[in-house]
Symmetry: C2
Subunit: 530 residues, 2 copies
């Protein structure tokens, strides 16, 4: 048996699928940041396969550039705030995680985090206003005769829109906090005993106290979301529909959930027929590098190169931190390609080059690449898994700390603390993942799991999108759990009924025994009396 | 969007996969009846793909003919009973279902069913003796250097053998009673509120009393299997291993469970990453019919034909029943092809021909086929779904009544009661499924679900078999639930701990309040006294 054989199968399938030409009319919900970057790859493939793609895009978006030429059509809508306001919010958000958090108490962090959540929700609702409260946009959408709405539910309202337009809905989702949306709206089973809540920083192997933490985490996050998120969203949805509406129930109408993880990155867990795990949807073979970059990479000789990026959101760090990192990188034998748009650090070594932008996937797929220093975004980690590159994680916010923990747990990465790391920590971490062969072996195992699938994640996602259009939904994959209340789902009403029956039987039995006993005793007593 | 486009994708994939030549060495566990018929299709494909296949086969087997030439190698082993004993058991088994059951009370049926279960288990253990207690066979198996053991767990012992040979294990399973094996050994979640227990004759849409029935069915069947099956098997396994062994835990070591259903036939339910639903694994396009049969089929004109078979196990029925059926078939305008090896019924019409054997799949795939009269075995139903032929079910035993209920619930079949049906019932049922267009429409919907998959069930099964060989197992698909006790799985220990903590906090709070209140009152009283 040779490993090579299955890969050829997948490649052939891709080529076969690309030849299709029958087109559907797809509407895509607006998104932001890495969510949008990820979505774009799928859209490209849908266009390759002959579909017409229209993307709803707010005028105030950092990542969605409606004025740039693209293969899909933008449907821009106005929002009641400027792009600068949005940028300011993101800046504050990053500042909190990168500079403030480590000087705060838990209570302060929690309170600040709640504020961020609240502000984010307000932005989301203002975006939604731009669609729902604009007669022009709603008219255009209704006249667009779309076959499907494709959405990352990170920005709410796509379900409401799909209902109004009476078209099927597909979600593409990385995760929600404590899997709240997947569990409550998608009915995805998640026993807290072995399914770690997203953002809990736990794995699927938990001791007793970890299981207690996980359980409590699920409950607290559910309570928090009920208070901060669902309540407000229910109100909004109810106003739009003019009838009391549960936003979670609206979310549950999604035909397919394309989950952007797989068992290379995540831990195996129960799933449902309409949940498709398509992690690595955006990964692709490396293309050749620009000439000067290739030259620099080749100059690394046998030592190879290190690729370094803190993602698309973090463009600058403090001069002090930049010098700390540059000085560490100067001490390693590899050449380093660092995506960084701040001022050139004084301590920058001759082996390190700074770039405003790097072709990250092509670099990670280069034969000379030895390690990847990353903030731990899902997209970057998946590219590293795809190409088999061990990682040094410098997670900053959101799911990044947890993503990196997954990689560390699977033996494919080490983690540095952004706020407390020192020069030697950075240097030692990079040296470790390059020189300790176990990191490479483990990432190659994950890479093998990633590639060794009957169908590539992108093909799988595209298949279910087209399936849903062909069949005007995917109701045959929908479990009946959606029609049950929580106590019915857990059979609590059945248990209560059965317990009552058993209790009644016991009482009747006892009463009968007592009656018989009394009659018996009575007779004996009577006899004695006689 | 046209439906045709996805099918071409699947076909191309099949061709690509068939070109593989790297071969593994596969050992196949013995089986019987339709289980063996189903398994053979997979083996043919594995051989086509260059694998070496060895099949363990008992000398006393009705379906496994070790002396017939075949593309795989048989490894025959002796058993301590004759094929006649086995045939006698099957005959008694069928007689009970076909002739005795309707005259018995529930208690008698239950008691007889328990006897059958017990006898069947004794046969299974005698088969297992033939492997485990034969030094020659065990030596041959150890020297065989197999890469994988493929087994339908209907006959126990494959897990034990896989452990002794230290090779990965794949199950191919239709179901176990109340999904007992899948739930307890495979850790497949099955909330009784919407997952009907296999053999309960319930659907996924249950009202309160049906949910009570389902719940009770799960519990009773678990208790019955604990008493009748697991206890005895644990004893056997413990004796062989020389240490206390749980047979269910041994079963849980299976790397992949290939479940022979899908959401065309079954109801959507929670699954696990190592459970692959490959229902219809044996279906294939129809081949041309033998010349005289084709001639007879063509002579049916626009009325078309009806295909009739009660499966491979039921060869004869009583003369009375045969006449009843023949007389009904004589009254329909279609031509009928009836698989029947009894004496020619007197009432047989000119439109009906009797055959000892029919090419069932090729007939069901014929353009002239209008209906299928079937006993409701899974294999036959899947062929009808594959080719889109509405059914009249005459279920007799095992899963047949439930299988037919699934089809009836999905609007693709009517059901007749074998013991009480009359001539006009048979005639009306056949006329109904042919003339009421809804049956054809519904079976075509199921057929579309069946075909509209990213990969055919056979290719998916073969992929995971080869995957498991390539990777020497599939541990990354195994949930951690396997490592938990039942109370840990349901977080009962965590709940008990949290409740204790809450209770303690309440007690401390109350004690503190009481203490403060007393001090307060005490002072007031003292002041008053002063």
């Amino acid at each position: 048996m040779e490993l090579g054989q299955h890969i050829s199968i997948c490649v052939v399938l891709v080529l076969c699928m690309t030849s299709s030409t029958n087109g559907g009319n797809i509407l895509v919900w607006y998104s932001e940041g890495s969510h949008w970057i990820n979505m774009k790859t799928v859209l490209d493939t849908l266009i390759d396969r002959g579909h017409q793609v229209t993307v709803l895009a707010p005028t105030a978006s950092i990542y969605m550039k409606t004025n740039e030429s693209s293969r899909f059509r933008y449907e821009p809508f106005n929002v009641s705030f400027s792009i600068e306001t949005m940028e300011e919010f993101f800046k504050g958000f990053l500042h909190f995680f990168m500079h403030e958090m480590d000087q705060m108490s838990y209570l302060q962090i929690y309170s600040r985090f709640m504020d961020i959540m609240e502000t984010n929700l307000q932005f989301s609702l203002k975006y939604l206003d731009g669609v729902m409260k604009s007669d022009t946009i709603m008219k255009k959408l209704k006249e667009g005769k779309y076959d499907l709405l494709l959405a990352d539910p990170i920005y709410p309202g796509s379900d409401l829109t799909a209902e109004i337009l009476d078209i099927p809905l597909i979600f593409s989702l990385r995760f929600s906090i404590a899997n709240n949306w997947e569990r409550h709206c998608g009915q995805l089973p998640a026993p807290p005993s072995f399914v770690p809540a997203a953002m809990s920083k736990l794995t699927d192997q938990m001791n007793f106290s970890e299981r207690v933490s996980n359980f409590v985490f699920y409950i607290l996050q559910d309570m928090m979301l009920d208070n901060k998120f669902w309540k407000e969203l229910d109100k909004y949805y109810s106003e739009v529909k003019g009838t009391p509406t549960s936003a979670c129930e609206m979310m549950s109408t999604a035909d397919i959930w394309l989950m952007r993880t797989y068992w290379d990155f995540d831990f195996p867990r129960p799933l449902l027929p309409n949940f498709k795990f398509v992690g690595g949807i955006h990964c692709r073979p490396a293309k050749p590098l620009p000439e000067d970059m290739e030259e620099f990479v080749q100059s690394s000789g046998d030592n190879g190169i290190v690729v370094f990026s803190l993602g698309s959101m973090i463009k600058n760090i403090t001069t002090e931190k930049a010098n700390l990192i540059a000085s560490a990188l100067a001490q390693i034998p590899q050449k380093v390609l660092w995506r960084y748009s701040g001022e050139k650090p004084e301590t920058l070594g001759a082996n390190t080059r700074i770039y405003n932008w790097i072709p990250q996937n092509d670099l990670l797929g280069h034969a000379k690449t030895r390690a990847f220093i990353t903030h731990g975004g899902t997209n970057g980690i998946y590219e590293a898994i795809y190409h088999g590159v061990p990682m040094v994680g410098i997670p900053i916010f959101g799911d990044q700390p947890e993503n990196m923990l997954h990689m560390k747990y699977k033996g494919a990465a080490t983690i540095l603390d952004f706020n407390s790391m020192k020069t030697e920590d950075v240097r030692d971490a990079v040296n470790a993942v390059i020189n300790d062969k176990s990191y490479k072996e483990n990432i190659m195992k994950l890479s093998s799991i990633h590639h060794d699938r009957p169908i590539t994640p992108l093909d799988e996602a595209v298949f279910w999108i087209e399936f849903t259009m062909r069949n005007k939904g995917a109701k045959h994959l929908r479990v009946q759990a959606h029609e049950l209340t929580w106590y019915q789902y857990h059979s609590l009403d059945v248990l209560a009924f059965l317990l009552t029956v058993v209790m009644l039987l016991i009482i009747i039995l006892m009463k009968t025994c007592r009656f018989c006993f009394r009659r018996c005793c009575h007779r004996t007593l009577k006899k004695k009396e006689d």
